[in-house]
Amino acid sequence: MATRDASWLGFSLALPLPTLLVLAYLLPLAGVLAWSMSTPGGIGFGNYRQIATDPLVVSILLRTLRICVAVTLISVAIAYFLAYHLRFGSPWKKRVVLIGVLIPFWLSSLIRAFAWLMILRANGLANTFLQSTGMIAEPLALARNELGVMIGMTHFLVPYAVLPIFSSLQHIDNRLIQASRSLGAGFWRGFKDILAPLSSSGVLAATIIVFIFSLGFFVTPAVLGGGRVVMVAEYIYLQMFQLSNWGLGAALSGILMVVVVALMLALIKIVGIRRLMDTAS
């Protein structure tokens, strides 16, 4: 009797979290998915059919994919470079990289987007500087286009990619690098044969994390794209809150979520949930 009491007590103590998740998350989510099948008009796959066929929606999805893939590749490449120096650099270099990686974490994405706008716009810092030095005659189109969006997103995402890559580099014994060199491999050869394969899981984790993040970007494209570079998150917002086209917005949300969940599962399978938690902490 006593044990049954104890297990019942344990169960009831654990109850608040699942309850909260069901009430605040799963139920509304089910509601959203129900909209995607029911509005406007009767029950059916109309919204999903529209996503697959409407040239505007398809072009937005393709643009989102294009920007996210490019930003992910660039971010991971930059992050590898930074993580490498964070792991193998001199103490001074490590400090500089660490500060550079951590500071952006403390700034909101809105502030960062506006800061980039100040730098990149036609009469912004970058263009005024380049014009005053005479390197260019006309201002470069750095903002209010895909380039601006990609710069802003990359800046946001690089720190998230640095951590998993750094973690995987941290697990590599420095003596393995020394061993490869003593056996005759120069820097690039050792990088290709030893460092790259041993850090590949970190790179893969970083790629998936950054790609998932990039899919949901809303503020950065809105600010730096100036309304011209609409990505899927902003388009969902427009459907839901500006056009009250809840069905289409809900269907797009559902698709986005399926993609993200699939990627998350792939990530967990590749890296393992324990490693992932290690990386996060």
Partner: protein, 357 residues
Amino acid sequence: MEDVSKRFGALTALSSVNLDVRQGEFLTLLGPSGSGKSTTLMCLAGFEAPSEGRVLHRGEDFTSLSPEKRGFGVVFQGYALFPHMSVAENVAYPLVVRKIARAERERKVRAMLSTVGLGHYEDRRIQSLSGGQQQRVALARALVFGPNLLLLDEPFSALDRRLRGEMQSELTRIHQELGTAFVFVTHDQDEALSLSDRIAVFNKGRVEQIAEPSKIYEEPATTFVAEFVGETNLLDVTRVKAVGDPNLYHAHYGDTEIICRGPQDAVPAPDSKLSVRPEDVELHATLPVNGTQLNAISVRLLRSTYFGASVEALLGDQADRQFRVRLSTKRARNTGLEDGRSYWLSWPKGTGYLVPK
């Protein structure tokens, strides 16, 4: 190595180290941790750049040559095997980097693996090997490309005692078989004495003495060497003078007259240290009868420690100076050890060595 110094910030790791590795020899760098032996090895390998001095290889200046261009084999502490490659891939790696054709590569890998006693382990994963086997793979990998110098950084420190002994004799065998010069770093004096052609004893970034093991043990150049290699009793002796025979000296320990050995080339200072090894000393219940061949001192037993085959006795004389004596257990039983009792301590005239510094 010529006058090599190395500083890390304010810390001097090496000061003016001169070291000459001879063709095909087994040279051991011996010293306590932080004495500079590993730093010396890293300077030879090219992973540390000397702050001063030069590293020469057959007349060529190697000081600023990168490790991959030196072509020396290195066996690291902890082996540093590539975990994502099989045994054969690890051993083949230096050959792949050197673009050696596949057929020859495979032949060399097989030959080297059988030399180190891992004939049928080609396809095994590194993680499935025992410590001793990993050690053999590391050796094979460092030797397969035919380096004329192999550097070993405390390779046996992770192995248990029995395996260590086995690997030591394996290493001697491989050294003799290949004729490659080995430079071996260790803090284990027994390992150094039993393996080496020559030993360089390091202390505080300096080389205290380089010589054959027997010379290091029997004729230590400094008190540090005398105390670090093996156990010893260091006696303060006075009125040291030569007695005609180039090896023998006359000295006083307190009021007792002593005949001992000393350096041939230079007469030690009148006040010197005399190193007497515990195994040279005998303990007697009464004054030994053949006293003319012995140096003898009257002492009291402070305590004795049992080691199985031998017993170590700690003794003190009237002036409260202490001695360590190692007796066979049988001998100790015959003498009868009793704390607080008086004994005579003796060692043959002409044993014991006057340490110059």
